[in-house]
């Protein structure tokens, strides 16, 4: 009798120690993951901090100006180019994603499309730049301009927008669609009024990534936008459309091109390159933070507590 009891006790103790062991292993892994996260956070801070500090310590006041010598106009060009490219890539990408998720039949054509999208997503940006140069500049006998650059950046981010939208739609609970169709809504109404609004937070994430890529893009713009800029902010000068900052059909170098040309050009231009890098860094960071904040707000409004 006592033996049985002892054995039972022993078994209980074994399982207790097993649990303790499992807990310990669990804790160790938690620590490991925290360390890895911390490492990446430090890396990001160190990198961003280095670029920003180095950029601003070497900067002279005139470099901040929005004129021929400053980087201000390049900053504006960067923002404007990314804006234009999103104007193209977001609607087309979202529509492509809707097509792939809701309309595409499971057939050879769809398979082909999928391969095409995947290929497009791994296309080197210099190739897209060259494509833009040959098709939109050489073939149409045009001068380098922002719009062509924006088209190239849009082409580069299209696969991302498409797959983000498609994945977002596919991950929605089927009950949304059934609920809406069950009330007599058409598929188009269902997509427009229920499914896409529910996907907005994820689509915003896609837009952030696309914009981030656009901010830093250089290779695709090398042949397409021209690397310098001579825009004027005095409206009187806009009788010459190539000086109007808001004209998308004018030349316009971006910050990343400025970094590239400053380094390869004369000595002493390095400070300009560093400052450009710092500004680019700040842009990408603040855009990303802003977008995540927006995403969070929208999710909260929809009651998604995930």
């Amino acid at each position: 009798m006592t033996e049985v009891k002892n054995e039972k006790k022993a078994r209980v103790e074994v399982s207790q120690s097993l649990i303790r062991r499992a807990r310990a292993v669990d804790n160790i892994w938690t620590v490991v993951f925290y360390l890895v996260a911390l490492f990446f956070l430090l890396l990001l801070f160190a990198f961003a901090g280095y670029v920003i500090i180095k950029g601003f310590t070497g900067a002279k006041p005139e470099m901040f100006r929005f004129d021929r010598n400053g980087v201000g106009n390049y900053f504006f060009n960067t923002v404007y180019l990314v804006f234009l490219s999103l104007l193209i890539s977001v609607p087309i990408g979202v529509m492509g994603g809707i097509y792939m998720a809701e309309y595409a039949k499971d057939n050879a054509f769809t398979k082909f499309l999928r391969i095409a999208i995947e290929t497009l997503s791994s296309l080197p940006s210099i190739v897209v730049g060259l494509f833009g140069y040959l098709i939109f500049l050489v073939a149409t006998k045009s001068q380098p301009n922002l719009l062509v650059g924006a088209i190239c950046v849009a082409i580069l981010s299209l696969p991302l927008m498409t797959t983000t939208t498609e994945d977002a739609l596919r991950s929605l609970p089927p009950s949304y669609k059934l609920g809406s169709m069950g009330m007599g809504a058409t598929l188009r109404q269902t997509i427009q009024s229920v499914l896409i609004p529910a996907c907005v937070p994820r689509i915003i994430t896609g837009v952030i990534l696309a914009a981030g890529r656009g901010f830093g893009e250089a290779a695709a713009l090398l042949y397409t936008t021209g690397s310098d800029t001579n825009i004027k902010w005095n409206p009187a000068a806009w009788v010459n459309p190539s000086l109007n900052p808001f004209n998308p059909l004018r030349r316009g170098g971006t910050l990343s091109l400025k970094i590239w040309t400053s380094f390869t050009a004369s000595v002493g231009a390095e400070d300009v390159a560093n400052l450009s890098s710092a500004i680019l860094m700040i842009m990408v960071l603040s855009f990303s933070i802003l977008a995540h904040y927006l995403e969070g707000r929208i999710k909260k409004k929809m009651g998604d507590t995930k």
Binding site: L178, M183, A185, M302
Partner: protein, 257 residues
């Protein structure tokens, strides 16, 4: 053709066969659903209750490889062959699902959804529809101060009643409910049952349930399905007190233990 068949029933189903691919899920179903009554569909899991319910507003159209033969008439018009659009059909025959499925929108926008997709956009008109629909399901006082809050933040019972309000906002004639209370607590279940009984004055209700007491409490007619066949149907009291078919009796008594 049977198109013209005069019948007082809301739904008239004749020789309905349904196949999922090569699997026959419904076999020669003949059934009538009376207007302004609650009809309960009972039977063991997998017997075809949901399948049958979904044929009534063509939700099976979304299932690939689903083939249907036979007649299903709504007020004497065949819903599959008479050229009635699914859009019109589903407005007249609304559906409430097993899992409450409010849209990730505000309470107001959930109820206003149906009217909006039918082109109602005037604020005053929508306000009125939202209020009357919520009143009708008895949640206006509970919700009137938070119409602009997300529907996803509500409890399951509240969500289900909101879904009913969303369905009646477009004034359907028939409401199909597929185990509407199986995911809810007893109190919410009771509220929905009471609601269903109140609503039958205005609507024809078809409800699938696994809960024998529920069928007994609220339904006027009960239909027992087994392996894709309609075994027996009739006034609920007769089915429960005096079932004609042995299988019906076994199922019902088996449930009560």
């Amino acid at each position: 053709m049977s198109e013209k068949k005069a019948t007082s029933a809301k739904f008239y189903v004749h020789d309905l066969d349904l196949f999922y691919g090569s699997f026959q899920a419904l076999k020669k179903i003949n059934f009538q659903i009376a207007a302004n009554r609650i009809t309960a569909l009972i039977g063991p899991s997998g017997c075809g209750k949901s399948t049958f319910l979904k044929t009534l507003n063509r939700m099976n159209d979304f299932v690939e490889g689903c083939k249907i033969t036979g007649d299903v008439q709504l007020d004497g018009r065949d819903i599959y062959t008479s050229g009635m659009s699914e859009i019109e059909l589903r407005q007249r025959v609304g559906m409430v699902f097993q899992q409450p499925n409010p849209f990730p929108k505000t309470i107001y926008d959930n109820v206003a959804y149906g009217p909006r997709i039918r082109g109602v956009h005037r604020k005053s008109e929508l306000d009125e529809i939202v209020e009357t629909s919520l009143r009708e399901v008895g949640i206006w006082d509970e919700f009137k101060d938070r119409l602009n809050k997300s529907a996803l933040g509500l409890s399951g019972g509240q969500q289900q009643r909101l879904c009913i309000a969303r369905t009646i906002a477009v004034h359907p004639e028939v409401i199909l409910m597929d185990e509407p209370t199986s995911a809810l607590d007893p109190i919410s279940t009771m509220k929905i049952e009471d609601l269903a009984v109140e609503m039958k004055e205005k609507y024809t209700i078809v409800i699938v349930t696994h809960n024998m007491q529920q069928a007994n409490r609220i339904s006027d007619t009960t239909a027992f399905f087994l392996l894709g066949e309609l075994i027996e149907s009739g006034p609920t009291q007769d089915i429960f007190l005096n079932p004609q078919n042995k299988k019906t009796e076994e199922y019902i008594t088996g449930r009560f233990g």
